[in-house]
Point group: C2
Protein backbone atom coordinates (compact mmCIF):
# COMPACT_ATOMS: atom_id res chain seq x y z
CA UNK A 1 0.00 0.00 0.00
CA UNK A 2 1.33 3.45 -0.86
CA UNK A 3 1.98 5.71 2.09
CA UNK A 4 -0.79 8.15 1.18
CA UNK A 5 -3.26 5.24 1.01
CA UNK A 6 -1.99 4.01 4.37
CA UNK A 7 -2.63 7.48 5.85
CA UNK A 8 -6.04 7.72 4.17
CA UNK A 9 -7.15 4.25 5.30
CA UNK A 10 -6.03 4.39 8.92
CA UNK A 11 -8.91 5.00 11.30
CA UNK A 12 -9.12 5.27 15.06
CA UNK A 13 -11.24 2.17 15.54
CA UNK A 14 -13.79 2.11 18.36
CA UNK A 15 -14.93 -1.50 18.15
CA UNK A 16 -12.44 -4.32 18.28
CA UNK A 17 -13.18 -8.01 17.91
CA UNK A 18 -12.10 -9.53 21.24
CA UNK A 19 -11.94 -12.97 19.56
CA UNK A 20 -9.24 -11.97 17.08
CA UNK A 21 -5.87 -12.25 18.72
CA UNK A 22 -2.73 -10.22 18.00
CA UNK A 23 0.19 -12.62 17.99
CA UNK A 24 3.25 -11.79 20.03
CA UNK A 25 5.26 -12.05 16.82
CA UNK A 26 3.14 -9.47 14.99
CA UNK A 27 3.18 -7.11 17.96
CA UNK A 28 6.96 -7.36 18.21
CA UNK A 29 7.31 -6.75 14.46
CA UNK A 30 5.16 -3.62 14.86
CA UNK A 31 7.26 -2.32 17.72
CA UNK A 32 10.50 -3.20 15.93
CA UNK A 33 9.38 -1.23 12.87
CA UNK A 34 8.37 1.78 14.96
CA UNK A 35 11.69 1.60 16.79
CA UNK A 36 13.29 3.14 13.66
CA UNK A 37 11.58 6.44 14.55
CA UNK A 38 13.98 9.42 14.74
CA UNK A 39 14.34 11.46 17.91
CA UNK A 40 16.29 14.42 19.22
CA UNK A 41 19.95 13.31 19.46
CA UNK A 42 18.58 9.78 18.89
CA UNK A 43 17.62 9.65 22.58
CA UNK A 44 14.43 7.60 22.02
CA UNK A 45 12.73 8.57 25.30
CA UNK A 46 9.81 6.15 24.84
CA UNK A 47 8.72 2.97 26.53
CA UNK A 48 5.69 0.70 26.35
CA UNK A 49 3.78 -1.41 28.82
CA UNK A 50 1.89 -4.22 27.08
CA UNK A 51 -1.46 -5.22 28.59
CA UNK A 52 -3.03 -8.44 27.39
CA UNK A 53 -4.76 -10.22 30.26
CA UNK A 54 -8.45 -9.53 31.03
CA UNK A 55 -7.42 -8.68 34.59
CA UNK A 56 -4.88 -6.04 33.57
CA UNK A 57 -7.23 -4.54 31.00
CA UNK A 58 -10.05 -4.35 33.58
CA UNK A 59 -7.73 -2.50 35.94
CA UNK A 60 -6.89 -0.06 33.17
CA UNK A 61 -10.50 0.37 32.06
CA UNK A 62 -11.48 1.55 35.55
CA UNK A 63 -9.05 4.46 35.27
CA UNK A 64 -9.79 5.04 31.57
CA UNK A 65 -13.33 6.38 31.60
CA UNK A 66 -14.67 2.80 31.42
CA UNK A 67 -14.10 2.75 27.69
CA UNK A 68 -15.25 -0.67 26.38
CA UNK A 69 -12.43 -0.80 23.83
CA UNK A 70 -9.88 -1.07 26.65
CA UNK A 71 -11.08 -4.59 27.42
CA UNK A 72 -12.32 -5.47 23.91
CA UNK A 73 -8.99 -4.84 22.18
CA UNK A 74 -6.71 -7.86 22.60
CA UNK A 75 -3.74 -5.59 23.32
CA UNK A 76 -3.60 -2.20 24.99
CA UNK A 77 -0.31 -0.33 25.17
CA UNK A 78 0.44 2.21 27.85
CA UNK A 79 2.74 4.60 26.01
CA UNK A 80 5.34 6.23 28.25
CA UNK A 81 7.44 9.36 27.66
CA UNK A 82 10.58 9.67 29.77
CA UNK A 83 10.94 13.27 30.96
CA UNK A 84 14.44 12.40 32.20
CA UNK A 85 15.60 10.69 29.00
CA UNK A 86 18.13 13.46 28.33
CA UNK A 87 19.98 13.41 31.68
CA UNK A 88 23.62 12.57 32.18
CA UNK A 89 23.94 9.08 33.62
CA UNK A 90 20.63 7.83 32.20
CA UNK A 91 21.40 4.35 30.85
CA UNK A 92 20.06 5.02 27.34
CA UNK A 93 21.79 8.40 27.15
CA UNK A 94 25.07 6.66 27.93
CA UNK A 95 24.32 3.97 25.37
CA UNK A 96 23.44 6.52 22.67
CA UNK A 97 26.64 8.48 23.29
CA UNK A 98 28.80 5.36 23.27
CA UNK A 99 27.19 4.16 20.03
CA UNK A 100 27.83 7.57 18.43
CA UNK A 101 31.47 7.40 19.44
CA UNK A 102 31.68 3.85 18.11
CA UNK A 103 30.21 4.88 14.73
CA UNK A 104 32.42 7.97 14.44
CA UNK A 105 29.48 10.42 14.66
CA UNK A 106 31.02 11.93 17.83
CA UNK A 107 34.32 11.72 19.63
CA UNK A 108 34.84 11.02 23.33
CA UNK A 109 35.90 14.65 23.89
CA UNK A 110 32.38 15.78 22.99
CA UNK A 111 30.88 14.21 26.12
CA UNK A 112 30.60 17.56 27.92
CA UNK A 113 29.34 19.39 24.83
CA UNK A 114 26.68 16.73 24.39
CA UNK A 115 25.61 16.98 28.05
CA UNK A 116 25.44 20.78 27.86
CA UNK A 117 23.41 20.70 24.63
CA UNK A 118 20.89 18.25 26.11
CA UNK A 119 20.67 20.29 29.28
CA UNK A 120 19.98 23.57 27.50
CA UNK A 121 17.57 22.15 24.92
CA UNK A 122 15.64 19.70 27.08
CA UNK A 123 16.41 20.23 30.74
CA UNK A 124 16.25 23.97 31.32
CA UNK A 125 12.58 24.10 32.33
CA UNK A 126 9.64 21.82 33.06
CA UNK A 127 8.12 22.94 29.77
CA UNK A 128 11.22 21.91 27.81
CA UNK A 129 11.36 18.52 29.54
CA UNK A 130 7.73 17.88 28.73
CA UNK A 131 8.17 18.98 25.10
CA UNK A 132 11.18 16.67 24.74
CA UNK A 133 9.35 13.68 26.20
CA UNK A 134 6.01 14.19 24.44
CA UNK A 135 7.21 15.29 21.02
CA UNK A 136 9.59 12.39 20.56
CA UNK A 137 7.12 9.89 21.99
CA UNK A 138 4.54 11.42 19.65
CA UNK A 139 6.83 10.58 16.72
CA UNK A 140 7.12 7.02 18.02
CA UNK A 141 3.37 6.56 18.64
CA UNK A 142 2.55 7.76 15.12
CA UNK A 143 5.01 5.24 13.72
CA UNK A 144 3.40 2.53 15.86
CA UNK A 145 -0.07 3.32 14.50
CA UNK A 146 1.16 3.30 10.92
CA UNK A 147 3.27 0.17 11.35
CA UNK A 148 0.28 -1.61 12.90
CA UNK A 149 -1.99 -0.58 10.02
CA UNK A 150 0.60 -1.65 7.46
CA UNK A 151 0.64 -5.12 9.05
CA UNK A 152 -3.16 -5.43 9.00
CA UNK A 153 -3.84 -4.29 12.57
CA UNK A 154 -6.12 -1.49 13.71
CA UNK A 155 -5.46 0.94 16.53
CA UNK A 156 -7.08 3.63 18.62
CA UNK A 157 -5.02 6.27 20.43
CA UNK A 158 -6.80 7.20 23.65
CA UNK A 159 -6.55 10.36 25.76
CA UNK A 160 -9.60 9.59 27.90
CA UNK A 161 -7.97 8.33 31.07
CA UNK A 162 -6.99 9.54 34.52
CA UNK A 163 -3.24 9.97 34.30
CA UNK A 164 -2.62 9.88 38.06
CA UNK A 165 -4.92 6.86 38.34
CA UNK A 166 -3.10 4.91 35.63
CA UNK A 167 0.25 5.83 37.17
CA UNK A 168 -0.85 4.56 40.58
CA UNK A 169 -2.57 1.41 39.34
CA UNK A 170 0.46 0.28 37.36
CA UNK A 171 3.27 1.61 39.59
CA UNK A 172 4.60 3.86 36.84
CA UNK A 173 7.59 5.91 38.07
CA UNK A 174 7.30 9.70 38.21
CA UNK A 175 9.77 10.34 35.41
CA UNK A 176 7.28 8.98 32.86
CA UNK A 177 4.47 11.06 31.42
CA UNK A 178 1.67 9.03 29.81
CA UNK A 179 0.88 10.74 26.50
CA UNK A 180 -1.64 8.13 25.38
CA UNK A 181 -2.99 4.62 25.60
CA UNK A 182 -3.07 2.68 22.36
CA UNK A 183 -5.63 -0.06 21.72
CA UNK A 184 -4.43 -2.59 19.12
CA UNK A 185 -6.45 -5.35 17.49
CA UNK A 186 -8.72 -6.27 14.62
CA UNK A 187 -12.15 -5.05 13.63
CA UNK A 188 -15.20 -7.30 13.64
CA UNK A 189 -16.21 -8.93 10.37
CA UNK A 190 -19.19 -6.62 9.91
CA UNK A 191 -17.12 -3.47 10.47
CA UNK A 192 -17.91 -0.58 8.14
CA UNK A 193 -15.17 2.03 8.16
CA UNK A 194 -16.45 5.53 8.85
CA UNK A 195 -15.67 8.36 6.49
CA UNK A 196 -12.52 10.23 7.52
CA UNK A 197 -13.18 13.01 10.01
CA UNK A 198 -12.81 16.62 8.95
CA UNK A 199 -9.21 17.67 8.56
CA UNK A 200 -7.55 21.06 8.26
CA UNK A 201 -6.69 21.96 4.67
CA UNK A 202 -3.17 23.01 3.68
CA UNK A 203 -4.43 26.60 3.80
CA UNK A 204 -5.50 26.10 7.42
CA UNK A 205 -2.16 24.58 8.44
CA UNK A 206 0.21 27.05 6.83
CA UNK A 207 0.46 30.30 8.78
CA UNK A 208 2.36 33.56 8.49
CA UNK A 209 2.83 36.29 11.09
CA UNK A 210 3.68 39.69 9.72
CA UNK B 1 7.60 0.86 -0.90
CA UNK B 2 6.36 -1.19 2.06
CA UNK B 3 5.97 0.75 5.28
CA UNK B 4 8.78 -1.10 7.04
CA UNK B 5 11.11 -0.30 4.13
CA UNK B 6 10.01 3.33 4.30
CA UNK B 7 10.89 3.38 8.01
CA UNK B 8 14.20 1.59 7.42
CA UNK B 9 15.21 3.89 4.55
CA UNK B 10 14.31 7.25 6.07
CA UNK B 11 17.37 9.12 7.35
CA UNK B 12 17.82 12.48 8.97
CA UNK B 13 19.85 13.98 6.17
CA UNK B 14 22.56 16.52 6.98
CA UNK B 15 23.54 17.62 3.50
CA UNK B 16 20.94 18.90 1.08
CA UNK B 17 21.51 19.90 -2.52
CA UNK B 18 20.58 23.59 -2.66
CA UNK B 19 20.17 23.30 -6.45
CA UNK B 20 17.38 20.75 -6.27
CA UNK B 21 14.09 22.51 -5.72
CA UNK B 22 11.01 21.23 -3.93
CA UNK B 23 7.98 22.23 -5.98
CA UNK B 24 5.08 23.94 -4.27
CA UNK B 25 2.87 21.15 -5.56
CA UNK B 26 4.98 18.40 -3.97
CA UNK B 27 5.22 20.29 -0.69
CA UNK B 28 1.45 20.76 -0.59
CA UNK B 29 0.91 17.09 -1.39
CA UNK B 30 3.21 16.18 1.51
CA UNK B 31 1.35 18.46 3.92
CA UNK B 32 -2.03 17.24 2.64
CA UNK B 33 -1.02 13.63 3.26
CA UNK B 34 0.24 14.40 6.76
CA UNK B 35 -2.98 16.32 7.47
CA UNK B 36 -4.70 12.89 7.84
CA UNK B 37 -2.80 12.43 11.13
CA UNK B 38 -5.05 11.60 14.09
CA UNK B 39 -5.15 13.82 17.19
CA UNK B 40 -6.91 13.98 20.54
CA UNK B 41 -10.58 14.77 19.80
CA UNK B 42 -9.39 15.51 16.24
CA UNK B 43 -8.21 18.95 17.41
CA UNK B 44 -5.14 19.06 15.12
CA UNK B 45 -3.21 21.67 17.12
CA UNK B 46 -0.44 22.00 14.55
CA UNK B 47 0.63 24.72 12.13
CA UNK B 48 3.56 25.27 9.78
CA UNK B 49 5.53 28.26 8.63
CA UNK B 50 7.19 27.61 5.27
CA UNK B 51 10.58 29.25 4.69
CA UNK B 52 11.93 29.25 1.16
CA UNK B 53 13.76 32.50 0.48
CA UNK B 54 17.52 32.83 1.17
CA UNK B 55 16.74 35.85 3.36
CA UNK B 56 14.26 34.02 5.56
CA UNK B 57 16.51 31.00 5.87
CA UNK B 58 19.49 33.21 6.82
CA UNK B 59 17.38 34.81 9.56
CA UNK B 60 16.48 31.36 10.84
CA UNK B 61 20.03 30.03 10.62
CA UNK B 62 21.27 32.79 12.93
CA UNK B 63 18.95 31.55 15.68
CA UNK B 64 19.48 27.87 14.80
CA UNK B 65 23.05 27.26 15.85
CA UNK B 66 24.24 28.37 12.38
CA UNK B 67 23.46 24.95 10.99
CA UNK B 68 24.38 24.93 7.28
CA UNK B 69 21.40 22.75 6.37
CA UNK B 70 19.03 25.57 7.32
CA UNK B 71 20.13 27.52 4.28
CA UNK B 72 21.11 24.55 2.09
CA UNK B 73 17.72 22.85 2.23
CA UNK B 74 15.34 24.46 -0.28
CA UNK B 75 12.53 24.40 2.27
CA UNK B 76 12.62 24.69 6.04
CA UNK B 77 9.42 24.31 8.03
CA UNK B 78 8.94 25.88 11.43
CA UNK B 79 6.63 23.39 13.10
CA UNK B 80 4.25 24.96 15.61
CA UNK B 81 2.23 23.34 18.41
CA UNK B 82 -0.76 25.32 19.66
CA UNK B 83 -0.90 25.10 23.47
CA UNK B 84 -4.36 26.70 23.33
CA UNK B 85 -5.77 24.43 20.63
CA UNK B 86 -8.22 22.87 23.10
CA UNK B 87 -9.87 26.08 24.41
CA UNK B 88 -13.53 27.01 24.01
CA UNK B 89 -13.89 29.66 21.34
CA UNK B 90 -10.73 28.68 19.45
CA UNK B 91 -11.73 28.74 15.76
CA UNK B 92 -10.56 25.18 15.03
CA UNK B 93 -12.16 23.82 18.20
CA UNK B 94 -15.46 25.31 17.07
CA UNK B 95 -14.97 23.91 13.59
CA UNK B 96 -14.15 20.41 14.90
CA UNK B 97 -17.23 20.40 17.14
CA UNK B 98 -19.51 21.61 14.37
CA UNK B 99 -18.16 18.99 11.99
CA UNK B 100 -18.73 16.25 14.58
CA UNK B 101 -22.31 17.39 15.03
CA UNK B 102 -22.77 17.48 11.26
CA UNK B 103 -21.43 13.92 10.87
CA UNK B 104 -23.52 12.58 13.77
CA UNK B 105 -20.47 11.78 15.93
CA UNK B 106 -21.75 14.20 18.60
CA UNK B 107 -24.97 16.09 19.27
CA UNK B 108 -25.30 19.79 19.99
CA UNK B 109 -26.16 19.02 23.65
CA UNK B 110 -22.67 17.63 24.15
CA UNK B 111 -21.04 21.03 23.75
CA UNK B 112 -20.52 21.48 27.49
CA UNK B 113 -19.37 17.88 27.99
CA UNK B 114 -16.84 18.36 25.19
CA UNK B 115 -15.55 21.62 26.70
CA UNK B 116 -15.23 20.02 30.15
CA UNK B 117 -13.41 16.98 28.75
CA UNK B 118 -10.92 19.16 26.89
CA UNK B 119 -10.41 21.32 29.95
CA UNK B 120 -9.71 18.42 32.28
CA UNK B 121 -7.51 16.48 29.86
CA UNK B 122 -5.56 19.31 28.26
CA UNK B 123 -6.09 22.53 30.16
CA UNK B 124 -5.74 21.66 33.82
CA UNK B 125 -2.02 22.42 34.10
CA UNK B 126 0.86 23.83 32.08
CA UNK B 127 2.22 20.30 31.83
CA UNK B 128 -1.03 18.98 30.32
CA UNK B 129 -1.20 21.86 27.82
CA UNK B 130 2.35 21.19 26.72
CA UNK B 131 1.74 17.44 26.43
CA UNK B 132 -1.37 18.07 24.33
CA UNK B 133 0.42 20.47 21.99
CA UNK B 134 3.66 18.52 21.61
CA UNK B 135 2.31 14.98 21.45
CA UNK B 136 -0.22 15.73 18.72
CA UNK B 137 2.23 17.87 16.78
CA UNK B 138 4.74 15.04 17.19
CA UNK B 139 2.23 12.73 15.46
CA UNK B 140 1.89 15.26 12.66
CA UNK B 141 5.62 15.85 12.24
CA UNK B 142 6.30 12.11 12.00
CA UNK B 143 3.65 11.84 9.29
CA UNK B 144 5.27 14.76 7.48
CA UNK B 145 8.69 13.07 7.51
CA UNK B 146 7.25 9.81 6.24
CA UNK B 147 5.03 11.44 3.62
CA UNK B 148 8.03 13.42 2.36
CA UNK B 149 10.17 10.28 2.12
CA UNK B 150 7.38 8.41 0.35
CA UNK B 151 7.30 11.17 -2.28
CA UNK B 152 11.07 11.09 -2.82
CA UNK B 153 12.02 13.94 -0.50
CA UNK B 154 14.49 13.86 2.39
CA UNK B 155 14.09 15.61 5.72
CA UNK B 156 15.96 16.48 8.89
CA UNK B 157 14.11 17.26 12.13
CA UNK B 158 16.11 19.84 14.08
CA UNK B 159 16.10 20.64 17.79
CA UNK B 160 19.25 22.78 17.70
CA UNK B 161 17.75 26.27 17.79
CA UNK B 162 17.04 29.05 20.24
CA UNK B 163 13.30 28.84 20.79
CA UNK B 164 12.91 32.38 22.13
CA UNK B 165 15.11 33.68 19.31
CA UNK B 166 13.05 31.96 16.59
CA UNK B 167 9.83 33.19 18.21
CA UNK B 168 11.09 36.76 18.24
CA UNK B 169 12.61 36.72 14.75
CA UNK B 170 9.43 35.42 13.14
CA UNK B 171 6.79 37.12 15.36
CA UNK B 172 5.40 33.79 16.52
CA UNK B 173 2.58 34.29 19.05
CA UNK B 174 3.01 33.00 22.60
CA UNK B 175 0.40 30.25 22.31
CA UNK B 176 2.68 28.31 19.97
CA UNK B 177 5.49 26.08 21.18
CA UNK B 178 8.10 25.23 18.55
CA UNK B 179 8.77 21.50 18.88
CA UNK B 180 11.11 21.32 15.87
CA UNK B 181 12.32 22.77 12.62
CA UNK B 182 12.14 20.47 9.62
CA UNK B 183 14.52 20.78 6.70
CA UNK B 184 13.08 19.37 3.46
CA UNK B 185 14.86 18.78 0.18
CA UNK B 186 16.92 16.38 -1.87
CA UNK B 187 20.32 14.86 -1.30
CA UNK B 188 23.28 15.58 -3.53
CA UNK B 189 24.02 13.10 -6.33
CA UNK B 190 27.07 11.70 -4.53
CA UNK B 191 25.16 11.14 -1.27
CA UNK B 192 25.94 7.90 0.51
CA UNK B 193 23.30 7.03 3.08
CA UNK B 194 24.77 6.32 6.50
CA UNK B 195 23.96 3.13 8.31
CA UNK B 196 20.95 3.52 10.60
CA UNK B 197 21.88 4.79 14.05
CA UNK B 198 21.60 2.49 17.03
CA UNK B 199 18.02 1.86 18.08
CA UNK B 200 16.50 0.39 21.22
CA UNK B 201 15.46 -3.22 20.79
CA UNK B 202 11.95 -4.38 21.59
CA UNK B 203 13.34 -5.67 24.89
CA UNK B 204 14.61 -2.17 25.70
CA UNK B 205 11.29 -0.52 24.86
CA UNK B 206 8.92 -2.84 26.71
CA UNK B 207 8.94 -2.22 30.45
CA UNK B 208 7.16 -3.62 33.49
CA UNK B 209 6.93 -2.19 37.01
CA UNK B 210 6.07 -4.71 39.69
Amino acid sequence: MNFDDLMANRRSVNFFDPEKEVSEELLRKTIRTAAMTPSGFNLQPWSLMILRTPGDKERLKKVAWNQPKVTEAPVVLIVLADQEGWKEGHPFVEKVFNEMVKSGAMVEDQRQWFADARGSLYGESAEKQQAFACKNTGFFAMSLMLAAKSFGLETHPMDGFDLAGVRKEFNIPDNFWIPLLLAVGHVKDDFEPALPKWRKRVEDIVVTFD
